[in-house]
Symmetry: C2
Subunit: 319 residues, 2 copies
């Protein structure tokens, strides 16, 4: 039986699948481990875009059209910052800033980021634990023709246009996993890697040594959902990034990326012809409708994964 | 001739007279010294209510109805802070928060508050220098039946309801005057103490030893405008405060408060019967329409003070 599920999720794509699971399971069965490596300081405030996207999604506050930020947002504080001469390419809305002000004040007091994130989610009515992989600072840097950029500079300011030659996660090697994330992974029967960008959303979570080790050693069924369908990313720069980094920008590339870490790989029906070539003794390939456009799509995909995982669990139990 | 004018101004009442002078004089002739002792940290952000009131007024951004804050303001960040469990009795609007975020970031970098205030005013189009009396922290504390409160706690949270037994200005004695304020005072022919609260708006400026000394020793004509008219304060708690502190809550009390520091005292026509008893060898009493309801009222009062000061200067020159 699949009782306890942990989902590794980055930003927009990850949040969608998380929402599918929350519509399918009681919140006590779920935990999310998010990405903190795209955190960055703007105007002296600590912004945590991926964690906030998951939080806003599960709180029902997300701007569904954009997939990030708070619905029905205004940007009046940012207009003043702009008038005062600040760079305001990072679109921080007024409601969003309220949250960043709150987080920053508590961080400056030296409180654990995990506890702050927990309290924010609870106050906003989220019942699924949103866990940080680490409370230590980890920063994704992206090597482009113009040199190394902070992730938000590449992603927002440069709109993902520069070619990406390399990616590194400053601070990850010496970062300690949080007890909350390790405990959730230890208790999990099913670990799902959401269809987030493997290179910049999931990799920095896995770059925390304790997290990677916990997943490698876990007896849970480990499933990744491909964020690449038909050689294109559903949203964001994953395919282009993989290409310029010399990886194959398709389901084969994603499967190679997660090799040794997963037991099953979910690909979209559009890629069904790759299923046979990807299947190995230690890797099942599940063909599903994996593109999540509607809330029903999200729930259906989550339920399919749960059903498949339950069947797989029985097979493993019988073996 | 009156060439250079320095105005000591607190919040709302002070800003009105400053605006009157800006409508009457070229900005090069003016400088304002504001009050920083009601500065306070909210949600980790450095808020400077009196300085901002002067800045917003001169920038044409002030909410004319309230007399403070930005016109046409929204409070969406504050709603989120409230939802996250924070006390939000201090009404910080979204536009206002943009400014506080800007100031806080630069202060955390160790920049001089004077330079930050100057840049804010310049960026918002203010041409009159708004000077800080000191760059050191000074904090007004108010003794009430419930103990010592920070000024904003008394003023905003408690809405000025508690009786005030005493007032102190933490940090003032050891605070250094800014070179900008000393230089402006040194060059002034006319120093005007605006009709701000003498006890909590003007006193903390004068509590900075270098500022008080510069005014005491100045050869400029020094004029104060009474904020109390007919035994009532135009706005705010000055009269009540003076009463509970054992001072006379009328023009006589204000005159006593500024004794030795001013050469002329402006009272409203309503208080004209006090003129004779207040007049001394070293104190002229000027009866004027001093209640500023409209923009014309402000300009008229500033022009009357300028004309009187010019005449007084001629008398002094002749003496």
């Amino acid at each position: 039986m699949v009782e306890r599920i942990v989902i590794l999720a980055g930003g927009v794509g990850g949040a969608k699948l998380v929402q599918g699971f929350t519509d399918s399971c009681a919140p006590e069965r779920l935990a999310v481990i998010g990405n903190v490596a795209d955190d960055w300081e703007f105007h002296g405030l600590w912004v945590s875009p991926d964690i906030d996207t998951v939080t806003y999604t599960l709180a029902g506050l997300i701007d569904e059209t954009k997939g990030w930020g708070v619905r029905d947002e205004s940007f009046r504080a940012l207009e003043v910052l702009n008038r005062l001469g600040k760079d305001t390419w990072m679109q921080l809305g007024d409601q969003d800033l309220g949250l960043h002000i709150y987080r920053t004040e508590r961080r400056k007091k030296g409180e654990r980021p995990s506890l702050i994130a927990r309290d924010i989610a609870t106050r906003l009515g989220v019942r699924v634990p949103i866990l940080l992989p680490t409370d230590d600072p980890v920063h994704t840097k992206v090597q482009t023709p113009d040199g190394w950029l902070a992730f938000q500079e590449y992603f927002v300011r440069e709109r993902c246009k520069p070619a990406v030659y390399d990616v590194r996660f400053d601070g990850a090697e010496s970062a300690s996993a949080t007890p909350e994330a390790l405990s959730a992974l230890g208790a999990a029967d099913l670990i799902v890697i959401a269809p987030s960008n493997p290179v910049v959303s999931i990799a920095p979570i896995l770059a925390v040594p304790g997290i990677r080790r916990a997943i490698e050693r876990s007896k849970a069924l480990r499933v990744a959902v491909s964020p690449i369908v038909g050689g294109r990313t559903i949203k964001g720069p994953a395919a282009d990034m993989m290409r310029t980094m010399g990886q194959s920008p398709d389901v084969a590339g994603v499967a190679a990326h997660y090799r040794g870490l997963i037991d099953a790989f979910v690909i979209d029906r559009e890629d069904r012809d790759h299923a046979a070539s990807l299947t190995r003794d230690d890797l099942a390939v599940w063909v599903e409708d994996s593109v999540m456009r509607t809330r029903d799509d999200k729930q259906r995909l989550a339920e399919r994964i749960l059903r498949r995982a339950t069947m797989e669990g029985r097979k493993r139990g019988a073996a």
